[in-house]
Symmetry: C2
Subunit: 132 residues, 2 copies
């Protein structure tokens, strides 16, 4: 088979683009559906803002653009946080955990992180804990 | 069928015990294998220590004992953090997120949270992020 030339060459399919650094990809342990949970924390206050999911491409886009980019499990699409709401996350640092099965993003969150308008997704959900 | 009486009555099977509060159970959205990710944060410094997994029973035990208790996916068993290592997590607060699919635990971590001996599971895993 031959590939189309000329103008068609720029219409690359998603998977033909520069992928995630293979050295990083080799460290990731993904769930059965190819995803890794990403904990998102406000870099200066330490607030845990939300948890989202990344596949290799979402992590690649996050690392190369500095804008937090996730995989939406419900919409089955990439999602640049803030593209719709304006509540952008500027990425300050990214780390994998010891097992490569969790990502920690430290970000500078513009406005509310939660779609409810709360600053974090955990603000309204406190449960009662028995004293030890 | 009749049930054994007397002394046998105290040898209840795991699932016969008091379960997680149904009002909380109804708010949980679990993965296909019945689990919810739990982000674990040091209550005063804000460090994100680790991510672990809970099923209903692990959350119930955490809420009722004040000791962080998880489901180990690799060992397929409940796991009271620190029972082997001594690096206990005393639970200060627990919250569900807006969708009920993530738990945030604020704890007082004794010693290292990570099995590598690092304070957090993210200490050794920094990735390079391109400037925005």
């Amino acid at each position: 088979m031959t590939r189309p030339e000329g103008r068609c060459a720029v219409r690359l399919r998603h998977n033909d683009r520069m992928p995630l650094d293979p050295a990083i990809a080799a460290r990731l342990k993904r769930t059965g559906d190819g995803l890794v949970p990403a904990v998102v924390q406000q870099h200066d206050t330490g607030e845990v803002l939300m948890l989202a999911w990344m596949d290799d491409e979402a992590l690649h886009r996050t690392l190369t653009t500095g804008r937090a980019t996730y995989w939406s499990r419900s919409r089955r699409a990439y999602w640049v946080k803030g593209d719709t709401s304006g509540n952008v996350q500027h990425v300050r640092s990214v780390a994998l955990d010891c097992d490569g099965d969790t990502i920690l993003l430290k970000v500078d969150q513009v406005g509310a992180a939660c779609h409810t308008g709360d600053r974090t997704c955990f603000d309204a959900g406190a449960l009662r804990v028995a004293p030890e």
